[in-house]
Each structure stands twice: as C-alpha cells, then as structure tokens.
Amino acid sequence: MAARAIWKGQLVLGKHEVPVKMYSAVQDQAVHFHLLHDKDLTPVEQRIVRKDNGREVAKEAQRKAFPLDDQRAVILAPEELEQLEPESDRAIHLLRFVPRDALGDQWFDRPYYLGPDEKGDADYFALAEALAGKDRIGIARWVMRDKRYVGALAVGDDGYLRMTTLRRAEQVLDVPAIRPDKARTPSDAEIKLAEQLVDSITGPFAPEEWHNEYRARLHKLIEAKAKGAKLKLVAARPKEATTDLAETLRASLSQAKGSAQAKGKKVA
C-alpha cells in the first residue's frame, strides 16, 4: 500500500520552483512492550504530576517555562507561544549546494522522501537528474506545521530526491583534535599492518547483509516463554585488551588470509 504524503511544498532554487510531496522514509520495527505494574500486571498510564505533591495536572493547566539563567525561568502562555510560531508559506528554500563531505554524518537526523506533485513531474525528475550530475547536497530551510526545519537535499541512485533533516548547531557536540601521547601512538609499521588488515575485510556498504539479530532472538525468547518453556540465562563476559599490538595484527592478517600457521596460536 502506498504511503500517504505528510506535507506538500515547493523546492525554491533561484527563480525555479519544484512542487514536491514529502513522505516519511522510516518505518518502526522495534519490538514494543507494555509497561506493567509488577504486583498484578496492570498496564500503567503516564501522568503529568506536580513534583512536590504527586497530584495530576490536566493538560489545560500545563505551561512551558523557558530557562533564562541559573536562577529564573519565564512561563510562556499558549497564546504567546502561538504568536511566536513562524509563518508557513510552503516554500523549501535551497540556501546553498555543498560537496557531500562538507557536512559530517553527525548532523543527519531524520530522512524523508520527496516525491513529485501531480502537476510537477517533469520539474521533479529534471531537478533529480541535475543534482545527480553534481555530487553535491543542498542545504534547505522550511517551515512545516508551525515548526522550522533545516535539511540536506540529496538524490539517490534510484533517481528520487530525499531530504534528511539536520540537527541544530548547538546540539552537535564538538571534541578537540586528539593527539595521543607517545606511549599510545602506534608506529608506522603497525599502521601499515592495520591498513592491510582493514583492506582484507573491506567491501561495499551492503545494508541488506545486516539483520537485527537481537530483535529476532527476542521474538523467539518471547514465543518460547509464552509456551511455558524454562529459559536458560546467559551473562556476558568482558574481553581482554590487546597488549602486543604488532603481533596481534600479524596474527589477524594470517587469520584473515586463512593461513593455517596462525591457527591455534594464542594472541591478544
């Protein structure tokens, strides 16, 4: 069954407008559990309560307070918040197009497909083809359902446009460049060995080869338990850290190459 579009808008690039429909690209596959009261397995509800006395506070009486500093916050009334909502005009403004690696992966938040709107098929596929020839992503801003979004516009190998929303500058934490001290700096020889090892297990990104095994095992476990089976519990055991790096790398390489010589040799 075809998905329903969550929103309609126009991509705006300079003088051109390309009408598009937006679709969520993710589908939830998580195993869902109910939270129950341990006493008699009553399903629990969530309530918003006053922290001091535990009394429930109805939705109409709930307010939001914006923190100003360490000492104070200001309560903002619903009508004040509404008044601060941005104007919605259905325009998805393309601000700039940058090389793909100009944006680190940690910025990507939530993916959406963009599909052609009935009246704009020709423009949609023209833009997809134009973008495919550039190896760039577009940085876009728009207002959807009274909220502002920033996103990255890209085209897939399949010829469809995608928009991935981006995190805000303040959300993405920065770390200093790391230069480890001498004792923790690998030698050139060790790096060379590591490169060979990495090369030996390098391949294309093949997401279809990866399955959520835990999810599958959890389903099995639940089935078994539902039938009344007694479960055997197993706990995890931590691994030892590698001490002799060069030796371990050599052993890994031989193992990767399937060399019999490395087999049975105690390393790491």
């Binding site: 195993v31 109910h34 341990d38 509800e45 023209a126 790391i178 297990i201 539902a226 519990l233």
Partner: protein, 300 residues
C-alpha cells in the same frame, strides 16, 4: 563512570576497550514543564487500579502476543538474548565512508578509549582516517541492537548508529511514480541554478536554532516586566539535561586520563560545553565559543 555503555571494539584479533558517550544533546528550546503557578511538573507512571504513582522498580515489561497473551520479559532475559553482543562491537566489514547514504545515519556517540586501550585506539582511528573508511558492526545496548559505522574524526572515534535496511522504506513501498525522462533543457536550467548556489562549505549560521533564538528574545523581554518569572531552583532536577552535561565533562576526563597529550585543549572544550548546557548568565559567551568551534567541524 557515567558512560552509556562500556565494551570492546574488535577488528581481526585486536580488541580495544571503549566507553560510549553522547555526541548530540537535546535542543536548547526544550522548555521546563510547570503548572500555572510555576510549580515544576514531571512525567510519572500511574497504576489506575491501585491509584498510585509507581517507581521504576515497580514496573515490568510485557509483550502482548497475537493471541492476546501477555508475556513478561525480565531484565535478565533481555540481557540473555544476545550476551556476546552486549560486550563487543565486532567490526566485520570496512567500507568507504562515502558509500553510506545520509539516509542511514540515525544517532552519533563518541567512543572514548578505556585506560587499557593502549595504542590500539589511535591505531584504528589513524588507519580509518588515512584510508577514508568506516568499520561496520553491531552491538546491544539497553535491550536494543544497534548497527553502527565506526568513523574517525580528528583522532576521535565515533559510533554512528545506522538504520537497518528494514527500518527504511523503499520508493516502491512509498508509492513514488516511475522516473520519467526529463527534458534536457529543464535539466540544464536547474543545473545552472544549482551552480549559482554552489559553495565549498556549510555556513554554520544556516544551522542555527532560530526557534530557540526567537524564544529566548521573547522570554528575556517578558522577564523584564516581571510577569511569569519563576525560580529555576525549583525547576532543577531535569534529569536528562543534567545527565547530558555530566556526560560531556566525563568524556573530557576520560580523554585526559587515557590520552595525556590533548589534556589542555580538552579541558577548555569541556568547560565551554558545560557552560553551554547550563542556561546560565555565562550563556552568551559560551554560545559564542560553541559557534566558533562548530565552524571547523561542520565537515568531516
């Protein structure tokens, strides 16, 4: 230690003990929930039958089977489903980082070396940086399995949680129409528009949180009138925010202990982040620092 997860990255026979920390924090515009008089509110679990608020240790998780039977799964049973995966991230494959479409990236975490990691941590970071590759593996944390790409960024390893392929819809499933061959003149016209907007870098100002800025400006103006001002002291105890800033400080501590050399720089960053997380008077200064640093790290 307040890391989310501690375990081992393995590639080949090399194992690297690491701790996992948050690499992203909630948006600044997130507000505190209060009632009309400003009393702090919280979300609590409520048992409708016993008519009482429940603590976490009074809750169990139950799965409803197709036949309507409820099966309770204990914490030990959750842990038992894939014990080896709860300790290790085995990198079974390396791929070119550019091969992973933006669509797959879900959530990033920093991986800090454990003190016992020795040279192996830097070895993996430097090898991946040099080759432009990411290591792919999966692990279990808090009763969920995560597919991750381990990437190297300025000597630091990051675990990028990836979506599983069945968590992403296909264009066919969405029902997108078959691609039509576009008119060449239209393609050229749109290509020219793209060229006109082409830049080498992202402008961090374009990634700023305009909603948070608007809210702050309005809240500050309203505060001057004195109306609706409540004491933050009463509102403290927002566990999430406190945990996120504690984590940043912890990460820097870990780096200092396990890497020595970059201690000075790491400390400054920790202070800036701690201040940036606190909605304090120092905010303006701290935000400025963050914005400036972000400029260097928007790319990869």
């Amino acid at each position: 230690m307040r890391s989310f997860w501690s375990g081992t990255i393995t590639f080949g026979l090399v194992s690297i003990p690491v701790d996992l920390f948050a690499a992203v924090v909630p948006r600044q515009k997130s507000m505190k929930l209060v009632d009309e008089e400003g009393h702090p509110l919280g979300r609590r679990y409520w048992c409708p039958k016993h008519e009482k608020v429940l603590d976490d240790d009074e809750l169990v998780r139950g799965y409803e089977t197709d036949s309507g039977k409820v099966v309770v799964v204990t914490d030990e049973e959750f842990a038992s489903a894939a014990p080896e995966k709860s300790r290790d991230i085995e990198l079974r494959r390396f791929v070119a980082l550019d091969d992973i479409p933006p669509f797959y990236f879900d959530r990033p975490y920093f991986l800090a070396p454990d003190e016992r990691a020795g040279k192996a941590y830097a070895l993996l970071a430097q090898t991946m940086a040099k080759t432009g590759k990411a290591g792919i593996g999966s692990f279990v944390m808090r009763d969920h399995e995560y597919l991750v790409a381990i990437v190297s960024d300025q000597g630091m390893l990051r675990a990028e949680v990836l979506r599983y392929v069945d968590e992403l819809r296909t264009p066919e499933a969405v029902g997108l129409p078959k691609p039509a061959k576009p008119d060449a003149a239209r393609v050229r016209a749109l290509a020219r528009e793209i060229d006109a907007l082409a830049e080498a870098k992202v402008d961090p100002a374009e990634l700023a949180d305009l909603e948070a800025e608007t809210l702050r400006a309005f809240a500050e103006k309203k505060a001057k009138s004195g109306e609706g001002v409540v004491s933050m002291a009463e509102l403290e105890g927002d566990e999430d925010d406190a945990a996120a800033s504690a984590q940043v400080i912890d990460l820097m501590q870990v780096l200092r202990e396990s890497l020595g050399a970059s201690a000075g720089k790491a400390k400054r960053a920790a202070d800036a982040h701690a201040a940036a997380k606190k909605p304090a008077a120092k905010k303006a200064a701290a935000t400025k620092t963050t914005a400036k640093k972000t400029r260097h790290t928007v790319g990869r």
